[in-house]
Amino acid sequence: MVSESDIEHIAELADIGISKDEVPEFTTQFNAILDYFEVLDTVQGESAPAAGITNVFREDEPRPCLSQEAALANAGSTENGFIKAPRVM
C-alpha cells in the first residue's frame, strides 16, 4: 500500500508534476494496481543470466550525423547554435 504522501514523493522523483486534487485518485488507482502486482510474490525461480544472447559492438568511429541546424530545429529555445535549458543550480 502506498499513501498519498508516497504518491507525491514518487511524482517528485519522476519529475511529472502532480496537483493536490489529483493525488487521491492516483493513490487509489496505484494501490489497486500494486495489489494486482502481488501475484509476483509467488514467482518461482531465481534470476539467471540470459543464455544464447551476445552483445553487439561496433568501432567508435565518426559517422555522418545530423547537421547542427537539423539537430536544433525542434528545440524551443536556442542561442548561438546551442540549446538553451533552464538553470540546473
Partner: protein
C-alpha cells in the same frame, strides 16, 4: 510508375492525426500504394506526435528505417495515424487528439494502441498500415476492427526511428485487410539495419502458402479460461476446427507462467517507460520551457501540462517499481517471470508448431466503457505473453460475436513468422475472407 497520389479521405473515425494531401511516390514493389504510418514512427518532414501534446509540433529530421524502406519501394506515405498517447492504452482513447472510432461500429473503440492504423485499414482509406506492438497494440486493434495484424519476432524489424516506449518488448509490424498484404508489407520492412543493435539479419522473403497439412497446433487451456467471453472462445475453437479440416492436428499445451504474465508485463513496460520518457523535457524538442525557472520546476510544469494521465501514471508506476527497496520485489521478480514464460513457450513449441487462441478475451468495448486503469490492463492478458517471449504472433479475423469481429491469434517459434502467416493465410483462404 513514379507519380503523385492524391489523398483526401473523409476521416469520420479520427483515424489520422496528420494526412498528406498530395503524396509523391517512386518505383518499386509498393509503387503508388497508400500506406499509413503510426504516429510514433519517425517521418522526415511530417510531424510525429506519438498522440501526445508534448510532441505536438515535433517534426523529425530523419526517417525511421522502416520508413526509408517504404519510400525505397515506392510506397506513398499518406498520413500518420492516431494512437494511444505513447502507445499506452488498449482503446486509443488516451490520445491527446481525441479517440478513434471503430469503423465496424462507431460507438465502439477500435482497440489500441494502433487504433488509428487499424481504423484506416478497416475503413478502406488505405490497404495497409504500420503499427507497433508492445503488449498487443497491433493485434488488439486488428481483432477489434476485423483486419489482419502481425507482431513480428523481436529483432526482425528495425526499431531505429521508433519513439521508444518499452524497448525490450516492442516491434513495428504490418496491418492489412488480407494476410497476403500484411505479408507483402512485412517483406518490405523486415530488412537488417545495424542501427538497431537488438536486430538479427533474418530478412523476411515469403509468399504465403495455404498448405498446412500435418501442422501441429497447440491449444493452451489458459487462453480459453476465466475472463474469456465464452462466445469468443467458441468462435475461436470453430476457427481452429477449420484448420483441422485442412489437415492440421491439435495438441493440448500449457503455459503455466500465464498467471504472472500481466503483472510482469506491466512492471517491465512501465519501468522501461519511466526511463525512456525522461527525455521529454521540452529542451531538445517540444515547446519552449521557461529558462528562468529551475530545471525541476520547468520540467515538472511542462510534463504535468503536456502528458496525459495514463502516461503520468505509467511513468510513476515504473519509477516506483525501480526505486530503492522495491526493485527486488517488482522489477527483478518480473524478469524471472518473463524468463519462465519464455521457457513455457519453448516447451510448448516443441510439442506444437504453432499455438492458437483468441487475440482478445472480448469483442470491442464501448467508447468510455473502460474508465479504471486496472480493468483496461486486464484485457491485455492474451497478447502480452508473445511480447514477453519475443515470439511472432498474428491476429486474423475469424467471425463475429454480437456483430463485432473476433480475432484468431496464432503464435509461433522465434523467427518463424512465415509459419504463423501461412496458417493465417490457410484459414483466410478457406473461409473466403
Amino acid at each position: 510508375m513514379a507519380g503523385t497520389l492524391d489523398f483526401s479521405p473523409d476521416d469520420r473515425y479520427n483515424a489520422f492525426i496528420t494526412t498528406c494531401l498530395e503524396v509523391p511516390f517512386g518505383d518499386g514493389a509498393l509503387a503508388g500504394t497508400a500506406v499509413a504510418v503510426k504516429d510514433n514512427i519517425s517521418t522526415t518532414g511530417i510531424r510525429t506526435t506519438c498522440g501526445s501534446r508534448i510532441l505536438e509540433d515535433y517534426v523529425p529530421p530523419y526517417d525511421a528505417h522502416v520508413v526509408e524502406l517504404l519510400r525505397e519501394k515506392g510506397a506513398a506515405i499518406v498520413g500518420k495515424t492516431n494512437m494511444d498517447e505513447f502507445g499506452m492504452g488498449t482503446t486509443t482513447e488516451t490520445s491527446a487528439f481525441g479517440p478513434v472510432r471503430n469503423p465496424v461500429d462507431p460507438t465502439r473503440v477500435p482497440g489500441g494502441s494502433s487504433g488509428g492504423s487499424a481504423a484506416a485499414v478497416a475503413a478502406g482509406f488505405v490497404p495497409m498500415a504500420l503499427g507497433t506492438d508492445t503488449g498487443g497494440s497491433i493485434r488488439c486493434p486488428a481483432a477489434f476492427c476485423g483486419i489482419v495484424g502481425l507482431k513480428p519476432t523481436y529483432g526482425r524489424v528495425s526499431r531505429y526511428g521508433l519513439v521508444a516506449y518499452a524497448n525490450s518488448l516492442e516491434q513495428i509490424g504490418p496491418m492489412a485487410r488480407t494476410v497476403e498484404d500484411a505479408s507483402r508489407l512485412m517483406s518490405v520492412i523486415a530488412r537488417y539495419d545495424p542501427r538497431d543493435s537488438t536486430m538479427l539479419d533474418r530478412p523476411y522473403d515469403h509468399r504465403p502458402s495455404a498448405d498446412i497439412a500435418g501442422l501441429r497446433i497447440g491449444i493452451p487451456e489458459e487462453y480459453f479460461g476465466e475472463g474469456v467471453d465464452p462466445r469468443v472462445a467458441e468462435t475461436v475453437r470453430d476457427a481452429i476446427g477449420i484448420l483441422e479440416g485442412l489437415g492440421a492436428d491439435t495438441v493440448p499445451v500449457s503455459i503455466p507462467g500465464m498467471r504472472h504474465a500481466l503483472a510482469a508485463y506491466y512492471v517491465i513496460c512501465t519501468s522501461e517507460a519511466s526511463s525512456n520518457l525522461a527525455r521529454f523535457d521540452g529542451v531538445r524538442y517540444g515547446p519552449a520551457v521557461d529558462t528562468r525557472k529551475t530545471w525541476h520546476e520547468a520540467y515538472q510544469e511542462l510534463r504535468h501540462e503536456r502528458f496525459g494521465a495514463e502516461v503520468r501514471r505509467r511513468i510513476m508506476l515504473g519509477t516506483f517499481a525501480l526505486s530503492a527497496g522495491y526493485a527486488g520485489r517488482y522489477y527483478a521478480k518480473a524478469q524471472v517471470a518473463r524468463r519462465n514464460i519464455r521457457q513455457d513457450f519453448e516447451r510448448a513449441l516443441r510439442d506444437a508448431d504453432i499455438i492458437a487462441g483468441p487475440t482478445m478475451p472480448t469483442v470491442a468495448f464501448r467508447l468510455g466503457e473502460k474508465t479504471d486503469p486496472l480493468s483496461m490492463y486486464l484485457s491485455d492478458i492474451l497478447t502480452v505473453p508473445a511480447n514477453l517471449a519475443g515470439i511472432p504472433a498474428i491476429s486474423v479475423p475469424c467471425g463475429r460475436v454480437d456483430g463485432l469481429p473476433v480475432g484468431l491469434q496464432l503464435m509461433g517459434r522465434q523467427f518463424e513468422d512465415e509459419r504463423v502467416v501461412d496458417a493465417a493465410f490457410a484459414y483466410e483462404q478457406e473461409v473466403g475472407a
